[in-house]
Symmetry: C2
Subunit: 406 residues, 2 copies
């Protein structure tokens, strides 16, 4: 079955034609700024993550589902049900996620997939590979090789600070790990993808350099367990589950198309929406505007200032009107952020009710958010301060993980 | 200075337009079958290897020039004079050559660059890196990864049998060596070459798979000494001299265009014409026709049969006519082969004189060639039988070569 069943033409071509919704690894934009995620599911040909699947996860893991799961932050999937079927049969699988290390400091949106991946690792007790695509960022962001490698290590510290279990986690950067069985799989994938096909998926042009065209197979192959001979036996051919933001879907659509031709399992995906900018839901945050996001390096004062000054409010323009009409929760960023990071369901529901009815004011909601974010960022800062260079080396060491399924 | 000074448009485009002379790494063809090497020098923008340069080599090395040099088998170059200038100043350089391991047995044409490279290594006492592009052959010939790797090791044995000095020679296959500093240079090169540029140089189409498009930088980067941190210091930035057949020129035209942008030395080239097929000079030999070439695995009887039966003769159709008009040396394959492998200049000149004047018959010349080739192939067979798997491992070990310039 092709990976884009609802469209004869490629996603990129269709997007270019309709010209309103563009979501790919390098561009996220929509008419009016708001992403229509239903349309995206339809266009990409992935599946909606229904509540019944969330309940099944809870049954299978005997744990409450992660906030990001029960509140629909991760809202789409490909074959996640097959992963659960396999898990239920006692079959093994592994997790794969990654990051393009293009900046020194991570913002909260960057943490979302890692917080969720840590939950999955703990809940299913499975090994995890984390790819740092320093080669990609060197090529796309025009960083030097040295700077990309430095950023990869810096970002690894933030990732490790999310609490991953070193006995189940292998972090690698492409510059440090590419070669051997991994490169053999890259070549196998390359043989299956024509330039025209890559153009259809990624929208490349003739003026793109050949590094960009060469990259997709490098993001594809960590989906295949044989790319990690120090972790998995060549005959394992394990299933892989990839938690990621939905803009990464094109890479794995390509991967899933190719996998059966190589005798490999198609990777399964569990895909998130985008973490909104402080200024409102217009796709992803902009790295060029530090006031569009809360960074893990922001001080308590920074956080307070940014939330008070920039967080787009759905509250009314006067207290009288607010008391009368209530806040518009659909556009209110403080409520959306609380939806990500305020874990207590009843407290969140209380805020939504009171604020939506106008009994709670914007300032009160913003203060609540400031408290939540300050706590989160402070905990992250403390955890990151504990991460030494030796720990980075240890997570990135090419080594077996003998207890990764225990 | 661009690398193709005599043409505004790309070599591939020009070739397609004129439609008579096509020489690139995958295709060698010409109208009427005979390559016009003067036209090729003009089109590629390389330089003719003049006799004065050959004499300079003899002066600098205090050795007679190799037969392939003094008889014009290596007939073109790029900046070979700059290598000699550097050598004269006492500066170091290194040699780089390679082979695409697409077949089990090598034929005599395959040996030509290695025999010549061995002479250069001995004459200049310099280190040598030999690239086995098993990844390329896996992609272009649709071999499996495993088969390509096996052929690389088999071919390495034939290469080692040519007599390379293990204290100065590093042999590597892309599947075994790619990664680290080598891959960093691949990414640096990729960033400098757009798809359109690659199309101009190599003639790719949209239906080519992206592995083909990704490959040229992998053949480019052994030109840079920093790709071999176990051999050279990162700051050495040594000059590189590449002996190869002229069909490889497009790779190194690209490399020379890119090198200055990366702060690297442009590699110099010394380029050979093609070893002719037994059936006559129509470009390169065909792997699909075993009777078009003498293989290093051929028995004395095979060699005798092939030369007698298939070697195109410039002799006349009757003994009377032959005595009257003499042989046409321009098309005679036995004389051409003797020009490669009969080392004694006076003996060769004698044959040319007598045969050209009709005093010597085709059979006599063919018998002479059979004797020369049988000796050559027998020596090669004996040498190859001595090459163990352990020796292949030793040549391919990633190791320093402390005495490589001694």
């Amino acid at each position: 079955m092709p990976e884009t069943p609802n469209h004869q033409k490629s996603a990129a071509a269709a997007a270019a034609e309709e010209d309103d919704l563009v979501v790919n690894p390098w561009q996220v934009s929509a008419e009016g700024g708001k992403i229509d995620y239903d349309k995206l599911i339809d266009r990409f040909g992935c599946q909606r993550l229904e509540q019944s699947l969330v309940q099944r996860v809870e049954r299978l893991t005997s744990l409450p589902a992660h906030v990001f799961l029960r509140r629909g932050v991760f809202f789409a999937h490909r074959d996640f049900n097959l992963i659960l079927d396999a898990y239920e049969r006692g079959e093994k699988f592994f997790l794969y996620t990654g990051r393009g290390p293009s900046s020194e400091a991570l913002h909260l949106g960057h943490l979302v997939p890692f917080m969720f991946t840590k939950y999955l690792q703990d809940a299913f007790k499975v090994p995890l590979v984390i790819q740092l695509t320093d080669d990609e960022k060197c090529m796309w962001k025009n960083l030097t090789v040295e700077e990309s490698k430095r950023l990869a290590r810096e970002n690894a510290k933030d990732i490790i600070a999310c609490g991953f279990d070193i006995t189940r986690t292998f972090i690698f950067s492409d510059f440090s790990y590419l070669g051997g069985a991994f490169y053999e799989n890259v070549v196998r994938v390359e043989k299956c993808v024509t330039f025209n096909k890559a153009v259809g998926i990624f929208g490349f042009t003739g003026e793109d350099h050949i590094g960009k065209i060469s990259f997709p197979p490098i993001q594809a192959v960590p989906s295949f367990s044989s790319s990690f001979p120090h972790l998995f036996s060549i005959n394992d051919n394990l299933r892989c589950l990839i938690p990621c933001a939905i803009d990464q879907d094109p890479y794995f659509r390509m991967t899933r198309d190719v996998a059966p031709r190589l005798g490999y399992q198609k990777p399964a995906l569990i895909e998130s929406s985008f973490f909104p900018a402080l200024q409102g839901e217009t796709g992803k945050m902009s790295a060029s505007d530090p006031n569009s996001a809360i960074y893990v390096t922001d001080s308590a004062k920074d956080i307070s200032n940014k939330v008070k000054k920039y967080a787009f409010s759905g509250g009314q323009d006067s207290i009288d009107n607010h008391r009368k009409y209530g806040a518009n929760l659909e556009v209110d960023i403080p409520v959306k952020y609380l939806g990500f990071f305020l874990e207590d369901d009843s407290e969140l529901e209380h805020i939504r009710m009171e604020y939506g009815a106008g009994r709670m004011l914007t300032d009160e909601v913003k203060n609540c958010l400031i408290e939540v974010l300050t706590g989160l960022v402070e905990r992250h800062r403390r955890a990151r301060a504990q991460v030494t260079d030796e720990m980075v080396d240890a997570f990135m060491a090419v080594r077996p993980l003998p207890h990764m399924f225990d």
